[in-house]
Symmetry: C2
Subunit: 470 residues, 2 copies
């Protein structure tokens, strides 16, 4: 593995680490550099391509970070039997992720290559300087380890190069560990079985689940979010490449979120989605519902979270053929304003006890809002951070009357929810929804996964160090 | 069909057409309205969400329009046996497309609904006014016809509503006609067989083609391009819904293009793509290579074009494992600068005759640039307007040694090329490329289609009127 190898002579011709960072700093301008250095969160920068999110910190990015416009999420399966390989991979991922979130390529490019964030001049011959690498939060040594990490072809391009010129785009990269890292087929592959958190449960089968094996599960999780589709995919692609020989892609999925900035975005069903999320601006809510504590079984998860992913296909064709009144009954909200039924404004409180003059509930019994509301779930809350997805069309055999067989959209929701414990979060909420939600006649869960997302890394360390080293 | 029906009483509760346009005008501001009225092309507006492209005109939009950041392309198959149904559909599509490109919903929303382009206030109760509908280039009557067009459920929501608040986003909608509109299975379904242009040939099978039936062909084509992914998909979705009972989706595909504005964007292989395109700023080039003339067999195509679509999957995993030098030999260009091999700058001319000191060609014999260059193709040029696509991952059995069977990206290029005649454009160029291009070991053509794209419509008329009415 990379860590055991001496520096390779083949790295002649590469600049010292930091060269790309110089270019990044130069074009980011003073503000961008200062923000990166201070660890501020300018997610809603005036120019979203120039937003920079910190990589290192108490928590990983991409959880309470204001949601970027695009994501690429992926799960990989570990193919190595060697614990050290896993650690080396996590080190390489950490270093590359730190570079990329700060607007750099995954590894330094050769002299004279266009800088990642350089916007107007593709011929830049940028001077070398190690100091500016501080903006990556990493060190030259980190980057060197990274570049030396065993790709199959050691002379292969250091980075796919497709995001040169695109800017940091507020990129966050979030890593998670699936059940298979701890035990797989009954085997404790890496000596980690005893450290598996009780909260990292295998999800039960829910009513109506139509899970596709190739879109479900995974040993390792990467969530890349950015204000540009190519930047998000680029990040996962470089990381997956660093994993060649150690882990292989199990599934990948791109997603997007379109919305006027600062407003609740509308999902593909045309309704505002996320109105009732716990506020990320309230640390006590995040501590209660999102961040994992230091439990006796998994002290290494303190400051982490548990992430549930569900790929939910929506039969938009049939939804579009329904009346707005009906759609509002399904959601329990008004379509255009986003207000709870009977109310005027989006953020008016949801009153589940209200009845109309005939004594019927104003918010229908089987509406999505009622069933998912914390008042219906012993106060449970989860932080949803979902994206729409659109993978074109496929031929489907429907599971509802009249059982049409036809080409339909393969589009819907990449449901992503973060919580301190899925046993009190997603699982009981979805048990209820999967049985009673009126929306189910339009939605099918076709992919599913759960991951333990460890806390953020310290500079010089790596994601998941607490799991392997304590 | 809609055109034969009286106005329905069920339209009570809808505003007159024009209300949404008022709101659009209001939030576009004076500049946006003026540009729309003048038919200008502010595709690179300071705020790309506020760009407005004209719908009516000599040519359809989306051909020489500066390329927007996203697309959704789709093909539909006609299911009706009735020529009048096809005309009614094209009328409804024209009216809805004109509305949507100007930032409106496909049909008017009920009173009090949020306006499409309204960005800050979701409670807007916009005053009604017919005059502002001039910005849509349509009329109130057009919109009425549209709203009355037979969806299966006549009371269904007039628009899916998912783009409320998102702005016009420079949306263009381009319609095309596939061979199946003229003859299908030997049948002249709509009395149009004699009007099929000779240039609308069935594409030959090319070397290496691995076409998937469900991603190939189609009777009708829609290309929606916008500076927002959801806006592009929304357009096709509303149009497909208007086709219920007349035409059904055959395939749909979303695409994206990330690039610093005003520069040639990089494709997923990391190379600049489109450098050698004929300049859309030169009308004589467009007339020679892009716009169809008034041929004797198809005078109705004057001002139109012929569009070839190819879904080209790229094995990015293997590409990423190759050296930059090799990648440059494949393309015939330098990766970072985009210059032809041996040159410094992207737009330096490609000199195919240049040799190195050993007498070998500087630009390799089987490089993509050499084989596709007009000097290698009797001067032929096509206007490429391609997008990258990313549909996650699939399990593949490779067609090259070592015939890996594994999960790989389903990502690559939605190749879109416009030309005055495919027989002198795409076909001979791709005959050569499909046999000799070094790039073929990384690319697989899995979808294909060709369409006659008629000229633009006049206000009050509809796309394709010349085909049906002369």
């Amino acid at each position: 593995m990379a860590n055991d190898q001496p520096p390779r002579p083949s790295r002649r011709g590469f600049l010292k680490a930091g060269s790309a960072a110089v270019a990044a700093g130069a074009s980011l301008g003073a503000t961008g550099v200062a923000q990166a250095a201070l660890g501020k969160t300018p997610a809603h920068a005036a120019d979203p391509t120039q937003a920079v999110e910190p990589f290192y910190g108490l928590h990983q990015g991409g959880i309470v970070t204001p949601q970027q416009s695009h994501t690429y999420v992926a799960a990989l399966d570990l193919t190595t039997a060697n614990r050290d390989d896993v650690i080396a991979l996590l080190r390489a991922w950490t270093d590359a992720a730190a570079r990329m979130t700060q607007g750099n390529t995954a590894a330094p490019l050769p002299t004279g290559a266009a800088a990642r964030t350089e916007l107007t001049d593709t011929k830049a011959d940028t001077p070398v300087g190690a100091k500016a690498d501080a903006t990556t939060g990493g060190t030259a040594d980190n980057a060197s380890n990274n570049a030396a990490y065993s790709p199959t072809n050691t002379k292969a391009a250091p980075d796919s190069g497709d995001v040169l010129g695109l800017g940091p785009c507020g990129l966050t990269i979030t890593f998670g560990f699936g059940p298979g890292l701890f035990t797989k087929d009954g085997k404790d592959r890496y000596g980690l079985a005893a450290r598996r958190p009780a909260a990292l449960v295998d999800l039960p089968r829910f009513n109506g689940d139509q899970l596709i094996e190739q879109k479900t599960g995974g040993d390792l999780f990467i969530q890349a979010c950015a204000n540009d589709q190519q930047v998000a995919f680029h990040a996962v692609r470089q990381l997956a490449r660093l994993a060649y020989g150690t882990a292989a892609m199990r599934w990948g999925q791109s997603g997007f979120l379109s919305g006027p900035r600062g407003q609740t975005p509308r999902n593909l069903m045309g309704f505002k989605d996320g109105t009732n999320n716990p506020s990320t601006a309230k640390p006590q809510l995040m501590n209660e519902f999102v961040w994992a504590g230091a439990t006796a079984d998994a002290p290494w998860m303190e400051g982490g979270t548990y992430t549930v992913v569900r790929r939910i296909r929506i039969t938009l064709e049939h939804w579009d053929n329904t009346e707005v009144d009906f759609q509002e009954q399904v959601f329990g909200r008004h379509k255009y304003s986003g207000a709870p039924i009977g109310k005027k404004n989006e953020f008016d409180p949801v009153n589940l006890k209200e009845e109309d003059k005939d004594g019927n509930p104003v918010i229908p019994e089987n509406s999505h809002v009622r069933l998912s509301n914390q008042a219906s779930n012993n106060g449970a809350q989860i932080l949803r951070r979902s994206y729409s997805y659109n993978d074109g069309t496929n031929f489907y055999i429907e599971r509802w009357p009249p059982w049409r067989q036809e080409t339909e959209y393969d589009a819907g929701l990449i449901f992503l929810a973060h919580q301190s414990d899925p046993r009190t979060g997603f699982i009981p909420i979805n048990e209820k929804l999967s049985k009673f939600d009126m929306m189910n006649q339009f939605t099918t869960h076709v992919g599913s996964a759960v991951f333990a997302v460890p806390p953020g890394a310290k500079p010089g360390s790596y994601i998941g160090a607490g799991l392997f080293e304590t």
